[in-house]
């Protein structure tokens, strides 16, 4: 049978892939996609805990699913703002590579 731990491990692997993507890739668009992967990994473990904690009347704990709803809303807003910043950066510098943006480098 599938246990809670299986879902948590899948969520951990997805989060790790996202973290590796943020740290290894240099293209800003792919970095934003990796951020989405990390947010979704967190959503998966929230929903798994929601299903695991069944309430007295026999339905899942919906508080976690409301939280997932908020996370998805914030993630959508974050992507929109991130991509707008990317477009503004591309207009100013003609690049999407984080290696070329060194104004704040010490």
């Amino acid at each position: 049978m599938i246990t809670l731990g299986d879902y948590l491990v899948v969520s951990a692997i997805l989060f790790t892939i996202g973290l590796a993507g943020v740290m290894l890739r240099r293209n800003l668009i792919v970095i934003l996609m990796s951020l989405e992967l990390m947010l979704n990994a967190a959503n998966l473990s929230l929903v798994a805990f929601s299903r695991f904690r069944v309430e007295a009347n026999g339905v899942p704990d919906y508080n976690a699913q409301v939280f997932v709803f908020f996370v998805i809303t914030v993630a959508a807003a974050e992507v929109a703002v991130g991509l707008a910043l990317l477009v503004a950066l591309y207009r100013a510098r003609q690049t999407t590579d984080v290696g070329d943006i060194t104004s704040l480098k010490f």
């Binding site: 809670l4 491990v9 997805l14 989060f15 790790t16 299903r51 339905v59 899942p60 409301v66 290696g99």
Partner: protein, 167 residues
């Protein structure tokens, strides 16, 4: 949901999630992300969270991915050319990620509840939209309205950021 379906969708989600990071071409990354999100949506459905599974498809596989593909098209981004890999940074990045994965797996291994299967539900959860909506408008009314303000601010910010500078 039968166990083999869980494994199919879990493997699908993880493989295409890895493809997002490994592909050199941003369009291929974006399309891999769509498949990964569809697999994740199936995993949500397997946890009886039908509403979350459906908004995952609508918001991510629909709206967010169109936004990504549109920006890739607008900026005409090509596949990155191979440049010299900074081996120190690459090894450091992979090392930190692997350490985090090992740490989470150890914590899950020590967590007693993680070895239990999911308890049976008393009835089907096809009415979860009603339950989530009721919570959203009673217990979580203030956060709900704050999130509305957040989306409004994000919309205005995006319009401001992406307008052309007046000459």
């Amino acid at each position: 949901m039968p166990p083999f379906l869980f494994w199919i969708f879990a493997v699908l989600t993880v493989i295409f999630g890895a493809a997002v990071v490994l592909n050199r071409n941003p369009v291929a990354s974006a399309l891999s992300l769509v498949v990964s999100f569809l697999g994740l949506s199936a995993l949500f459905m397997s946890l009886d969270a039908f509403f979350v599974g459906i908004i995952q498809v609508l918001v991510y596989a629909g709206a967010v991915m169109v936004l990504f593909l549109f920006i890739i098209m607008l900026l005409d981004i090509r596949a990155e050319e191979r440049r010299r890999i900074n081996w120190l940074a690459a090894v450091g990045g992979i090392g930190v990620a692997v350490i985090l994965l090992i740490q989470i797996c150890v914590v899950v291994g020590h967590f007693k509840d993680a070895r239990q299967t999911f308890p049976q539900l008393a009835r089907s959860t096809t009415d979860d939209v009603w339950n989530i909506g009721r919570l959203l408008f009673t217990n979580y009314n203030l956060p709900f309205q704050i999130i509305g303000v957040l989306v409004l601010v994000a919309t205005i910010g995006v319009v401001f950021l992406s307008r052309r500078e007046p000459r």
